[in-house]
Protein backbone atom coordinates (compact mmCIF):
# COMPACT_ATOMS: atom_id res chain seq x y z
CA UNK A 1 0.00 0.00 0.00
CA UNK A 2 1.50 3.35 -0.95
CA UNK A 3 1.49 6.47 1.18
CA UNK A 4 -1.61 8.09 -0.30
CA UNK A 5 -3.74 4.96 -0.14
CA UNK A 6 -2.65 4.44 3.45
CA UNK A 7 -3.60 8.00 4.32
CA UNK A 8 -7.03 7.60 2.73
CA UNK A 9 -7.62 4.32 4.60
CA UNK A 10 -6.42 5.92 7.83
CA UNK A 11 -8.95 8.72 7.81
CA UNK A 12 -11.81 6.84 6.18
CA UNK A 13 -13.28 5.41 9.39
CA UNK A 14 -13.33 8.74 11.26
CA UNK A 15 -14.86 10.29 8.11
CA UNK A 16 -17.57 7.63 8.07
CA UNK A 17 -18.18 8.18 11.79
CA UNK A 18 -18.63 11.89 11.07
CA UNK A 19 -20.96 11.31 8.12
CA UNK A 20 -23.31 8.79 9.73
CA UNK A 21 -23.73 10.93 12.82
CA UNK A 22 -27.02 12.66 11.79
CA UNK A 23 -28.81 9.36 11.12
CA UNK A 24 -27.64 7.52 14.24
CA UNK A 25 -30.19 6.41 16.82
CA UNK A 26 -29.60 7.53 20.40
CA UNK A 27 -28.09 4.26 21.65
CA UNK A 28 -25.66 3.99 18.73
CA UNK A 29 -24.51 7.54 19.39
CA UNK A 30 -23.82 6.73 23.03
CA UNK A 31 -22.09 3.45 22.15
CA UNK A 32 -19.89 4.85 19.36
CA UNK A 33 -18.83 7.84 21.45
CA UNK A 34 -17.58 5.43 24.11
CA UNK A 35 -15.80 3.28 21.55
CA UNK A 36 -14.10 6.34 20.07
CA UNK A 37 -12.71 7.29 23.50
CA UNK A 38 -11.52 3.72 24.01
CA UNK A 39 -9.94 3.81 20.54
CA UNK A 40 -7.76 6.72 21.61
CA UNK A 41 -6.60 4.44 24.41
CA UNK A 42 -6.11 1.66 21.84
CA UNK A 43 -3.87 3.91 19.73
CA UNK A 44 -1.86 4.75 22.82
CA UNK A 45 -1.43 1.11 23.63
CA UNK A 46 -0.45 0.35 20.03
CA UNK A 47 2.42 2.86 20.21
CA UNK A 48 3.85 0.88 23.12
CA UNK A 49 3.02 -2.66 22.00
CA UNK A 50 2.83 -2.61 18.21
CA UNK A 51 5.49 0.00 17.43
CA UNK A 52 8.00 -0.61 20.21
CA UNK A 53 7.23 -4.27 20.92
CA UNK A 54 6.65 -3.83 24.65
CA UNK A 55 3.86 -6.05 25.97
CA UNK A 56 2.65 -3.94 28.88
CA UNK A 57 -0.07 -5.26 31.17
CA UNK A 58 -0.21 -2.05 33.17
CA UNK A 59 -1.77 0.50 30.86
CA UNK A 60 -4.94 0.61 32.93
CA UNK A 61 -2.88 2.60 35.42
CA UNK A 62 -2.09 5.20 32.77
CA UNK A 63 -5.74 5.39 31.76
CA UNK A 64 -6.69 5.64 35.44
CA UNK A 65 -4.05 8.31 36.12
CA UNK A 66 -5.71 10.45 33.44
CA UNK A 67 -9.15 9.68 34.83
CA UNK A 68 -8.26 10.41 38.46
CA UNK A 69 -6.09 13.40 37.56
CA UNK A 70 -9.00 15.03 35.74
CA UNK A 71 -11.84 13.76 37.93
CA UNK A 72 -10.31 14.45 41.32
CA UNK A 73 -9.21 17.90 40.13
CA UNK A 74 -12.79 18.85 39.34
CA UNK A 75 -13.97 17.52 42.71
CA UNK A 76 -11.30 18.93 45.01
CA UNK A 77 -9.76 21.88 43.15
CA UNK A 78 -11.90 23.59 40.57
CA UNK A 79 -14.81 22.46 38.41
CA UNK A 80 -13.18 23.73 35.24
CA UNK A 81 -13.17 20.92 32.66
CA UNK A 82 -10.41 22.23 30.43
CA UNK A 83 -7.83 22.62 33.17
CA UNK A 84 -9.01 19.25 34.50
CA UNK A 85 -8.25 17.70 31.12
CA UNK A 86 -4.74 19.14 31.28
CA UNK A 87 -4.32 17.87 34.85
CA UNK A 88 -5.39 14.41 33.75
CA UNK A 89 -2.92 14.30 30.88
CA UNK A 90 -0.15 15.65 33.13
CA UNK A 91 -0.88 12.98 35.77
CA UNK A 92 -0.78 10.24 33.14
CA UNK A 93 2.47 11.61 31.71
CA UNK A 94 4.07 11.68 35.16
CA UNK A 95 2.90 8.17 35.98
CA UNK A 96 4.00 6.80 32.61
CA UNK A 97 7.47 8.32 33.06
CA UNK A 98 7.80 6.70 36.48
CA UNK A 99 6.46 3.36 35.27
CA UNK A 100 8.49 3.55 32.07
CA UNK A 101 11.71 4.27 33.98
CA UNK A 102 11.17 1.04 35.92
CA UNK A 103 9.75 -1.21 33.23
CA UNK A 104 11.43 -0.30 29.98
CA UNK A 105 14.86 -1.00 31.43
CA UNK A 106 14.10 -4.68 31.93
CA UNK A 107 13.63 -7.32 29.29
CA UNK A 108 10.93 -9.63 27.99
CA UNK A 109 8.50 -11.06 30.53
CA UNK A 110 9.87 -8.80 33.26
CA UNK A 111 8.48 -5.76 31.49
CA UNK A 112 5.08 -7.42 31.51
CA UNK A 113 5.38 -8.38 35.18
CA UNK A 114 6.62 -4.99 36.38
CA UNK A 115 3.96 -3.05 34.48
CA UNK A 116 1.32 -5.37 35.92
CA UNK A 117 2.68 -4.90 39.44
CA UNK A 118 2.89 -1.11 39.07
CA UNK A 119 -0.69 -0.92 37.82
CA UNK A 120 -1.92 -3.17 40.60
CA UNK A 121 -0.11 -0.93 43.10
CA UNK A 122 -2.02 2.10 41.78
CA UNK A 123 -5.26 0.13 41.94
CA UNK A 124 -4.63 -0.80 45.58
CA UNK A 125 -3.68 2.79 46.41
CA UNK A 126 -6.96 3.96 44.86
CA UNK A 127 -8.84 1.43 46.99
CA UNK A 128 -6.86 2.34 50.10
CA UNK A 129 -7.74 6.03 49.86
CA UNK A 130 -11.37 5.30 49.09
CA UNK A 131 -12.52 8.34 51.05
CA UNK A 132 -10.86 10.47 48.38
CA UNK A 133 -11.25 8.30 45.29
CA UNK A 134 -14.57 6.63 46.03
CA UNK A 135 -12.83 3.25 45.68
CA UNK A 136 -14.47 0.56 43.58
CA UNK A 137 -17.85 2.31 43.73
CA UNK A 138 -16.41 5.52 42.38
CA UNK A 139 -17.66 9.08 42.44
CA UNK A 140 -20.12 10.76 40.12
CA UNK A 141 -18.88 14.23 39.16
CA UNK A 142 -21.04 17.30 39.14
CA UNK A 143 -22.67 18.20 35.82
CA UNK A 144 -20.91 21.55 35.60
CA UNK A 145 -17.55 19.75 35.76
CA UNK A 146 -18.08 17.88 32.49
CA UNK A 147 -16.87 18.99 29.10
CA UNK A 148 -20.44 18.62 27.90
CA UNK A 149 -21.69 21.39 30.22
CA UNK A 150 -20.37 24.51 28.41
CA UNK A 151 -22.06 23.32 25.20
CA UNK A 152 -25.37 22.46 26.83
CA UNK A 153 -27.22 25.64 25.77
CA UNK A 154 -26.71 24.60 22.14
CA UNK A 155 -26.21 20.83 22.01
CA UNK A 156 -27.77 17.85 23.71
CA UNK A 157 -25.62 15.76 26.02
CA UNK A 158 -25.18 12.81 23.66
CA UNK A 159 -24.48 15.05 20.68
CA UNK A 160 -21.72 16.98 22.40
CA UNK A 161 -20.24 13.74 23.74
CA UNK A 162 -20.11 12.36 20.21
CA UNK A 163 -18.57 15.57 18.93
CA UNK A 164 -15.87 15.65 21.60
CA UNK A 165 -15.04 11.99 21.09
CA UNK A 166 -14.83 12.37 17.33
CA UNK A 167 -12.57 15.42 17.50
CA UNK A 168 -10.26 13.69 19.97
CA UNK A 169 -10.20 10.57 17.83
CA UNK A 170 -9.25 12.57 14.73
CA UNK A 171 -6.42 14.27 16.63
CA UNK A 172 -5.23 10.90 17.94
CA UNK A 173 -5.36 9.26 14.52
CA UNK A 174 -3.51 12.19 12.95
CA UNK A 175 -0.86 11.89 15.62
CA UNK A 176 -0.26 8.20 14.97
CA UNK A 177 -0.39 8.75 11.23
CA UNK A 178 2.26 11.47 11.49
CA UNK A 179 4.32 9.39 13.91
CA UNK A 180 4.36 6.39 11.60
CA UNK A 181 5.70 8.57 8.78
CA UNK A 182 8.25 10.33 10.94
CA UNK A 183 11.86 9.49 11.71
CA UNK A 184 10.94 8.93 15.35
CA UNK A 185 8.29 6.38 14.39
CA UNK A 186 10.82 4.50 12.27
CA UNK A 187 13.26 4.50 15.16
CA UNK A 188 10.53 3.09 17.42
CA UNK A 189 9.97 0.25 14.98
CA UNK A 190 13.72 -0.31 14.75
CA UNK A 191 13.84 -0.70 18.55
CA UNK A 192 11.26 -3.43 18.25
CA UNK A 193 12.90 -5.21 15.34
CA UNK A 194 16.54 -5.11 16.36
CA UNK A 195 17.41 -3.20 19.48
CA UNK A 196 21.00 -4.33 19.55
CA UNK A 197 21.70 -3.22 16.01
CA UNK A 198 20.16 0.17 16.65
CA UNK A 199 22.25 0.51 19.79
CA UNK A 200 25.43 -0.32 17.90
CA UNK A 201 24.54 2.44 15.44
CA UNK A 202 24.84 4.84 18.35
CA UNK A 203 21.18 5.38 19.21
CA UNK A 204 20.10 5.55 22.82
CA UNK A 205 17.42 2.88 22.80
CA UNK A 206 16.61 3.30 26.49
CA UNK A 207 15.56 6.91 25.87
CA UNK A 208 13.58 5.90 22.79
CA UNK A 209 11.67 3.28 24.76
CA UNK A 210 10.95 5.70 27.59
CA UNK A 211 9.80 8.32 25.09
CA UNK A 212 7.48 5.82 23.43
CA UNK A 213 6.10 4.72 26.77
CA UNK A 214 5.44 8.34 27.78
CA UNK A 215 3.74 9.13 24.48
CA UNK A 216 1.63 6.04 24.96
CA UNK A 217 0.84 7.31 28.45
CA UNK A 218 -0.33 10.69 27.11
CA UNK A 219 -2.75 8.96 24.74
CA UNK A 220 -4.03 6.61 27.45
CA UNK A 221 -4.33 9.44 29.95
CA UNK A 222 -6.26 11.59 27.48
CA UNK A 223 -8.72 8.75 27.01
CA UNK A 224 -8.99 8.32 30.78
CA UNK A 225 -9.48 12.05 31.38
CA UNK A 226 -12.22 12.17 28.74
CA UNK A 227 -13.88 9.16 30.34
CA UNK A 228 -14.13 11.21 33.54
CA UNK A 229 -15.06 14.50 31.91
CA UNK A 230 -17.60 13.20 29.38
CA UNK A 231 -19.28 10.51 31.47
CA UNK A 232 -18.79 12.32 34.79
CA UNK A 233 -17.63 9.24 36.64
CA UNK A 234 -14.34 8.06 38.18
CA UNK A 235 -13.92 4.58 39.66
CA UNK A 236 -11.15 2.15 40.59
CA UNK A 237 -12.55 -0.44 38.18
CA UNK A 238 -10.80 1.40 35.35
CA UNK A 239 -7.45 0.80 37.06
CA UNK A 240 -8.10 -2.95 37.19
CA UNK A 241 -6.32 -5.59 35.18
CA UNK A 242 -9.16 -6.11 32.69
CA UNK A 243 -8.68 -2.58 31.42
CA UNK A 244 -4.99 -3.37 30.90
CA UNK A 245 -5.49 -6.50 28.87
CA UNK A 246 -8.34 -5.34 26.63
CA UNK A 247 -6.13 -3.11 24.45
CA UNK A 248 -3.87 -6.09 23.73
CA UNK A 249 -6.87 -7.80 22.21
CA UNK A 250 -7.96 -4.68 20.31
CA UNK A 251 -4.53 -4.20 18.76
CA UNK A 252 -4.17 -7.84 17.73
CA UNK A 253 -7.70 -8.04 16.33
CA UNK A 254 -7.19 -4.77 14.45
CA UNK A 255 -4.44 -6.02 12.19
CA UNK A 256 -0.96 -4.96 11.19
CA UNK A 257 -1.68 -1.41 10.00
CA UNK A 258 -1.13 0.77 13.08
CA UNK A 259 -2.95 3.77 11.59
CA UNK A 260 -6.30 1.97 11.46
CA UNK A 261 -5.85 -1.30 13.37
CA UNK A 262 -6.42 -0.07 16.93
CA UNK A 263 -9.64 1.75 15.95
CA UNK A 264 -10.88 -1.20 13.89
CA UNK A 265 -10.04 -3.77 16.56
CA UNK A 266 -11.53 -1.70 19.35
CA UNK A 267 -14.76 -1.23 17.43
CA UNK A 268 -14.97 -4.87 16.44
CA UNK A 269 -14.34 -6.29 19.91
CA UNK A 270 -16.73 -3.87 21.56
CA UNK A 271 -19.48 -4.48 19.02
CA UNK A 272 -19.14 -8.25 19.49
CA UNK A 273 -19.09 -7.88 23.26
CA UNK A 274 -22.14 -5.63 23.10
CA UNK A 275 -24.08 -8.06 20.90
CA UNK A 276 -23.12 -11.04 23.01
CA UNK A 277 -23.94 -9.36 26.31
CA UNK A 278 -27.33 -11.01 26.42
CA UNK A 279 -26.13 -14.48 25.47
CA UNK A 280 -23.07 -15.04 27.60
CA UNK A 281 -21.88 -13.88 30.96
CA UNK A 282 -20.92 -10.56 29.52
CA UNK A 283 -17.88 -8.63 28.67
CA UNK A 284 -15.16 -10.39 30.67
CA UNK A 285 -15.88 -13.78 29.18
CA UNK A 286 -15.80 -12.35 25.65
CA UNK A 287 -12.38 -10.83 26.31
CA UNK A 288 -11.14 -14.11 27.78
CA UNK A 289 -12.36 -16.18 24.84
CA UNK A 290 -11.04 -13.54 22.44
CA UNK A 291 -7.55 -13.79 23.93
CA UNK A 292 -7.49 -17.58 23.59
CA UNK A 293 -8.78 -17.38 20.03
CA UNK A 294 -6.31 -14.68 19.01
CA UNK A 295 -3.52 -16.79 20.53
CA UNK A 296 -4.56 -19.62 18.22
CA UNK A 297 -4.85 -17.24 15.27
CA UNK A 298 -1.43 -15.71 15.96
CA UNK A 299 0.17 -18.92 14.68
CA UNK A 300 -1.32 -18.18 11.26
CA UNK A 301 -0.83 -14.40 11.25
CA UNK A 302 2.84 -13.86 10.68
CA UNK A 303 2.84 -10.20 11.81
CA UNK A 304 1.14 -11.02 15.10
CA UNK A 305 3.41 -13.98 15.62
CA UNK A 306 6.52 -11.88 15.09
CA UNK A 307 5.21 -9.07 17.27
CA UNK A 308 4.43 -11.43 20.14
CA UNK A 309 7.73 -13.16 19.76
CA UNK A 310 9.67 -9.90 19.99
CA UNK A 311 7.69 -8.63 22.94
CA UNK A 312 7.88 -11.72 25.13
CA UNK A 313 11.25 -13.25 24.39
CA UNK A 314 14.14 -13.01 26.78
CA UNK A 315 17.21 -11.11 25.76
CA UNK A 316 20.04 -13.59 26.10
Amino acid sequence: MNGLARTIVTFSIPAVLACIYPILPEYAKFFLARVMILSVYAYGYAICFQMLGMLSLGHAALFAAGMYGAGLYTIYASPSPLSALLMGVAAALAFSLAMGLLSTRVGGPFLTITTLLAAQALYLVALHFNEITGGEQGIVLGREATLVWPLSPWLGESDSRYLFSLVTLVIAVTGVWALSRSRLGKLFIAVRDDEEKLESLGYNTATLKLLGFALSGVYSGTAGALQALLYSYVGAGYAGILNSVEPVLWVLVGGPLIQVGPLLGCMLVNIIADLARGMLRGHVLIVGLGLVLIAFAAGRLSWAYRLLRRSTGLVS
Binding site: L124, V125, V284, I294
Partner: protein, 289 residues
Amino acid sequence: MIQLEYLGLAILDGLVNGFSIALIASGLTIVFGIINIVNLAHGELYMLGALVSWVLVSAGLGYGSALIVAPLVVSGMAVLLNMLILQRFGHEPGPTMLATFGILLIIQQAGLAILGPAPRAISPPFNPPVEVGGFSYSGFKLFIGLASLATCLLVSVIFDKSRLGTLLRAVQENRLMVGSLGIDAGRVIMIGFALAGGLAGLAGALNSPVRQIHFLMGFDALVASFVVVVLGGMGSLRGTLTAAVALGLLESLTALFLAPTASRVVSMLIALSYVAVRRLGQAGGGSRS
Protein backbone atom coordinates in the same frame (compact mmCIF):
# COMPACT_ATOMS: atom_id res chain seq x y z
CA MET B 1 3.48 -7.62 77.55
CA ILE B 2 0.74 -7.09 74.98
CA GLN B 3 3.18 -5.51 72.50
CA LEU B 4 5.48 -8.49 72.45
CA GLU B 5 2.52 -10.79 71.92
CA TYR B 6 1.43 -8.82 68.84
CA LEU B 7 4.94 -9.01 67.47
CA GLY B 8 5.08 -12.76 68.03
CA LEU B 9 1.70 -13.28 66.40
CA ALA B 10 2.75 -11.13 63.45
CA ILE B 11 5.92 -13.17 62.97
CA LEU B 12 4.01 -16.47 63.11
CA ASP B 13 1.36 -15.15 60.72
CA GLY B 14 4.09 -13.92 58.41
CA LEU B 15 5.78 -17.32 58.37
CA VAL B 16 2.51 -19.18 57.72
CA ASN B 17 1.56 -16.77 54.94
CA GLY B 18 5.06 -16.94 53.53
CA PHE B 19 5.00 -20.74 53.32
CA SER B 20 1.56 -20.60 51.68
CA ILE B 21 2.73 -18.10 49.08
CA ALA B 22 5.82 -20.25 48.51
CA LEU B 23 3.58 -23.22 47.76
CA ILE B 24 1.64 -21.22 45.18
CA ALA B 25 4.67 -19.50 43.65
CA SER B 26 6.61 -22.79 43.33
CA GLY B 27 4.18 -23.88 40.62
CA LEU B 28 4.70 -20.64 38.74
CA THR B 29 8.45 -21.04 39.07
CA ILE B 30 8.42 -24.67 37.90
CA VAL B 31 6.42 -23.87 34.76
CA PHE B 32 8.51 -20.80 34.02
CA GLY B 33 11.65 -22.85 34.59
CA ILE B 34 10.68 -25.52 32.10
CA ILE B 35 9.12 -23.63 29.23
CA ASN B 36 10.09 -20.01 29.89
CA ILE B 37 6.53 -18.76 29.97
CA VAL B 38 4.71 -16.86 32.66
CA ASN B 39 1.51 -18.77 33.33
CA LEU B 40 -0.84 -15.91 34.12
CA ALA B 41 -3.63 -18.36 34.93
CA HIS B 42 -1.64 -19.89 37.78
CA GLY B 43 -3.43 -17.86 40.48
CA GLU B 44 -6.76 -19.13 39.20
CA LEU B 45 -5.59 -22.70 39.83
CA TYR B 46 -5.19 -21.71 43.48
CA MET B 47 -8.71 -20.27 43.45
CA LEU B 48 -9.98 -23.53 41.93
CA GLY B 49 -8.35 -25.46 44.78
CA ALA B 50 -10.29 -23.40 47.31
CA LEU B 51 -13.45 -23.64 45.21
CA VAL B 52 -13.29 -27.43 44.99
CA SER B 53 -12.75 -27.60 48.76
CA TRP B 54 -15.78 -25.40 49.36
CA VAL B 55 -17.92 -27.57 47.07
CA LEU B 56 -16.80 -30.76 48.82
CA VAL B 57 -17.25 -29.42 52.33
CA SER B 58 -20.64 -27.93 51.44
CA ALA B 59 -21.66 -31.34 50.08
CA GLY B 60 -20.86 -32.77 53.50
CA LEU B 61 -17.81 -34.74 52.37
CA GLY B 62 -15.48 -33.40 55.00
CA TYR B 63 -12.33 -31.33 54.83
CA GLY B 64 -10.03 -34.36 54.67
CA SER B 65 -11.43 -35.30 51.28
CA ALA B 66 -10.82 -31.76 50.04
CA LEU B 67 -7.13 -32.02 50.91
CA ILE B 68 -6.83 -35.05 48.63
CA VAL B 69 -9.36 -34.30 45.89
CA ALA B 70 -8.65 -30.58 45.31
CA PRO B 71 -4.97 -31.05 44.35
CA LEU B 72 -5.90 -33.93 42.05
CA VAL B 73 -8.71 -32.04 40.32
CA VAL B 74 -6.64 -28.89 39.87
CA SER B 75 -3.66 -30.90 38.68
CA GLY B 76 -5.93 -32.50 36.11
CA MET B 77 -7.17 -29.05 35.07
CA ALA B 78 -3.61 -27.82 34.56
CA VAL B 79 -2.77 -30.87 32.43
CA LEU B 80 -5.93 -30.38 30.41
CA LEU B 81 -5.17 -26.70 29.82
CA ASN B 82 -1.70 -27.58 28.66
CA MET B 83 -2.95 -30.36 26.41
CA LEU B 84 -5.91 -28.56 24.86
CA ILE B 85 -4.47 -25.09 24.50
CA LEU B 86 -0.87 -24.30 25.44
CA GLN B 87 0.71 -27.30 23.74
CA ARG B 88 -0.88 -26.26 20.45
CA PHE B 89 1.45 -23.26 20.24
CA GLY B 90 4.50 -25.38 20.92
CA HIS B 91 4.76 -23.27 24.11
CA GLU B 92 5.91 -20.27 22.10
CA PRO B 93 6.01 -17.50 24.78
CA GLY B 94 3.83 -14.88 23.06
CA PRO B 95 0.68 -16.82 22.15
CA THR B 96 1.02 -18.92 25.32
CA MET B 97 1.08 -15.87 27.56
CA LEU B 98 -1.95 -14.37 25.81
CA ALA B 99 -3.83 -17.63 26.05
CA THR B 100 -3.05 -17.99 29.75
CA PHE B 101 -4.52 -14.54 30.33
CA GLY B 102 -7.65 -15.54 28.44
CA ILE B 103 -7.85 -18.68 30.57
CA LEU B 104 -7.43 -16.53 33.70
CA LEU B 105 -10.52 -14.52 32.79
CA ILE B 106 -12.53 -17.59 31.81
CA ILE B 107 -11.76 -19.49 35.03
CA GLN B 108 -12.48 -16.33 37.02
CA GLN B 109 -15.91 -16.05 35.43
CA ALA B 110 -16.53 -19.75 36.04
CA GLY B 111 -15.62 -19.13 39.68
CA LEU B 112 -18.10 -16.25 39.78
CA ALA B 113 -20.79 -18.47 38.29
CA ILE B 114 -20.24 -21.19 40.90
CA LEU B 115 -19.41 -19.14 44.01
CA GLY B 116 -21.52 -16.10 43.33
CA PRO B 117 -20.30 -12.55 43.89
CA ALA B 118 -20.15 -12.77 47.71
CA PRO B 119 -17.20 -14.44 49.45
CA ARG B 120 -17.77 -17.93 50.88
CA ALA B 121 -16.22 -19.48 53.96
CA ILE B 122 -15.72 -22.91 55.47
CA SER B 123 -14.78 -23.47 59.07
CA PRO B 124 -11.53 -25.19 60.03
CA PRO B 125 -12.04 -28.89 60.86
CA PHE B 126 -9.90 -28.56 63.97
CA ASN B 127 -8.44 -25.51 65.61
CA PRO B 128 -6.92 -26.14 69.03
CA PRO B 129 -5.09 -23.14 70.47
CA VAL B 130 -1.42 -24.02 70.55
CA GLU B 131 1.01 -22.49 73.05
CA VAL B 132 3.95 -21.02 71.17
CA GLY B 133 6.57 -19.16 73.18
CA GLY B 134 4.18 -18.10 75.91
CA PHE B 135 1.10 -17.12 73.91
CA SER B 136 -1.52 -19.10 72.07
CA TYR B 137 -1.79 -19.40 68.30
CA SER B 138 -4.29 -20.98 65.94
CA GLY B 139 -3.52 -24.67 65.64
CA PHE B 140 -5.00 -24.86 62.16
CA LYS B 141 -2.83 -22.03 60.85
CA LEU B 142 0.16 -23.82 62.29
CA PHE B 143 -0.92 -26.90 60.36
CA ILE B 144 -1.18 -24.86 57.13
CA GLY B 145 2.30 -23.46 57.64
CA LEU B 146 3.92 -26.79 58.42
CA ALA B 147 2.15 -28.66 55.60
CA SER B 148 3.11 -25.95 53.10
CA LEU B 149 6.72 -25.88 54.24
CA ALA B 150 6.99 -29.67 54.14
CA THR B 151 5.54 -29.80 50.63
CA CYS B 152 7.88 -27.06 49.38
CA LEU B 153 10.89 -28.87 50.80
CA LEU B 154 9.70 -32.17 49.30
CA VAL B 155 9.31 -30.59 45.86
CA SER B 156 12.72 -29.01 46.17
CA VAL B 157 14.26 -32.40 47.03
CA ILE B 158 12.44 -34.04 44.10
CA PHE B 159 13.79 -31.34 41.83
CA ASP B 160 17.36 -31.72 43.01
CA LYS B 161 17.68 -35.44 43.59
CA SER B 162 15.21 -37.54 41.62
CA ARG B 163 15.30 -38.67 38.00
CA LEU B 164 12.15 -36.64 37.36
CA GLY B 165 13.89 -33.56 38.69
CA THR B 166 16.85 -34.20 36.42
CA LEU B 167 14.50 -34.52 33.43
CA LEU B 168 12.67 -31.31 34.34
CA ARG B 169 15.94 -29.45 34.61
CA ALA B 170 17.21 -31.01 31.39
CA VAL B 171 14.16 -29.84 29.44
CA GLN B 172 14.75 -26.39 30.88
CA GLU B 173 18.40 -26.39 29.74
CA ASN B 174 17.99 -27.76 26.26
CA ARG B 175 14.73 -29.18 24.97
CA LEU B 176 16.17 -30.22 21.62
CA MET B 177 18.99 -32.19 23.22
CA VAL B 178 16.57 -33.99 25.53
CA GLY B 179 14.49 -34.95 22.53
CA SER B 180 17.48 -36.35 20.70
CA LEU B 181 18.23 -38.55 23.71
CA GLY B 182 14.90 -40.26 23.15
CA ILE B 183 13.07 -38.57 26.01
CA ASP B 184 9.61 -37.22 25.30
CA ALA B 185 9.97 -33.55 26.26
CA GLY B 186 6.24 -33.03 25.84
CA ARG B 187 5.56 -35.57 28.57
CA VAL B 188 8.07 -33.96 30.91
CA ILE B 189 6.37 -30.60 30.38
CA MET B 190 3.02 -32.26 31.08
CA ILE B 191 4.36 -33.60 34.38
CA GLY B 192 5.59 -30.10 35.21
CA PHE B 193 2.10 -28.71 34.66
CA ALA B 194 0.57 -31.53 36.72
CA LEU B 195 2.96 -30.76 39.56
CA ALA B 196 2.34 -27.01 39.37
CA GLY B 197 -1.42 -27.52 39.33
CA GLY B 198 -1.27 -29.97 42.23
CA LEU B 199 0.71 -27.52 44.34
CA ALA B 200 -1.69 -24.65 43.59
CA GLY B 201 -4.67 -26.90 44.32
CA LEU B 202 -3.16 -28.03 47.61
CA ALA B 203 -2.47 -24.41 48.58
CA GLY B 204 -6.09 -23.55 47.77
CA ALA B 205 -7.39 -26.46 49.84
CA LEU B 206 -5.10 -25.68 52.78
CA ASN B 207 -6.01 -22.01 52.88
CA SER B 208 -9.74 -22.35 52.20
CA PRO B 209 -10.77 -22.49 55.90
CA VAL B 210 -8.84 -19.35 56.87
CA ARG B 211 -9.52 -17.15 53.86
CA GLN B 212 -12.51 -15.75 52.08
CA ILE B 213 -13.25 -18.00 49.14
CA HIS B 214 -13.90 -15.53 46.39
CA PHE B 215 -13.66 -15.58 42.61
CA LEU B 216 -11.03 -12.83 42.64
CA MET B 217 -8.71 -14.50 45.19
CA GLY B 218 -6.63 -16.04 42.40
CA PHE B 219 -5.46 -12.72 41.05
CA ASP B 220 -4.23 -11.57 44.46
CA ALA B 221 -2.28 -14.82 44.72
CA LEU B 222 -0.82 -14.23 41.26
CA VAL B 223 0.37 -10.76 42.21
CA ALA B 224 1.96 -12.09 45.41
CA SER B 225 3.61 -14.87 43.41
CA PHE B 226 4.98 -12.33 40.95
CA VAL B 227 6.55 -10.37 43.77
CA VAL B 228 8.10 -13.61 45.04
CA VAL B 229 9.45 -14.91 41.75
CA VAL B 230 10.83 -11.50 40.89
CA LEU B 231 12.71 -11.32 44.19
CA GLY B 232 13.67 -14.98 44.37
CA GLY B 233 14.68 -15.44 40.76
CA MET B 234 12.50 -17.07 38.13
CA GLY B 235 13.00 -20.80 38.03
CA SER B 236 14.76 -21.17 41.38
CA LEU B 237 12.73 -23.11 43.96
CA ARG B 238 14.95 -22.27 46.90
CA GLY B 239 14.92 -18.60 45.94
CA THR B 240 11.14 -18.77 45.76
CA LEU B 241 10.88 -20.17 49.29
CA THR B 242 13.26 -17.59 50.75
CA ALA B 243 11.58 -14.68 48.98
CA ALA B 244 8.11 -15.91 49.97
CA VAL B 245 9.06 -16.08 53.65
CA ALA B 246 10.60 -12.62 53.41
CA LEU B 247 7.43 -11.31 51.76
CA GLY B 248 5.16 -12.96 54.34
CA LEU B 249 7.15 -11.50 57.24
CA LEU B 250 7.40 -8.08 55.62
CA GLU B 251 3.67 -7.89 55.00
CA SER B 252 2.60 -9.09 58.41
CA LEU B 253 5.08 -6.82 60.20
CA THR B 254 4.12 -3.73 58.18
CA ALA B 255 0.47 -4.71 58.75
CA LEU B 256 1.07 -3.94 62.44
CA PHE B 257 0.97 -0.25 61.64
CA LEU B 258 -0.42 -0.14 58.07
CA ALA B 259 -3.63 -1.32 56.45
CA PRO B 260 -3.26 -4.68 54.62
CA THR B 261 -3.59 -3.08 51.17
CA ALA B 262 -0.91 -0.56 52.09
CA SER B 263 1.49 -3.27 53.23
CA ARG B 264 0.91 -5.12 49.96
CA VAL B 265 1.71 -1.92 48.06
CA VAL B 266 4.94 -1.56 50.06
CA SER B 267 6.05 -5.08 49.13
CA MET B 268 5.17 -4.47 45.47
CA LEU B 269 7.21 -1.29 45.43
CA ILE B 270 10.16 -3.15 46.93
CA ALA B 271 9.90 -5.81 44.22
CA LEU B 272 9.68 -3.14 41.51
CA SER B 273 12.75 -1.30 42.76
CA TYR B 274 14.64 -4.57 42.96
CA VAL B 275 13.79 -5.37 39.34
CA ALA B 276 14.89 -1.94 38.23
CA VAL B 277 18.17 -2.05 40.14
CA ARG B 278 19.09 -5.55 39.03
CA ARG B 279 17.85 -4.90 35.48
CA LEU B 280 16.43 -8.41 35.25
CA GLY B 281 16.03 -9.99 31.86
CA GLN B 282 18.64 -7.73 30.32
CA ALA B 283 21.81 -8.92 28.71
CA GLY B 284 24.61 -8.62 31.22
CA GLY B 285 22.37 -7.62 34.12
CA GLY B 286 21.17 -9.81 36.96
CA SER B 287 20.13 -13.34 36.19
CA ARG B 288 19.21 -14.23 32.67
CA SER B 289 16.03 -16.09 33.40
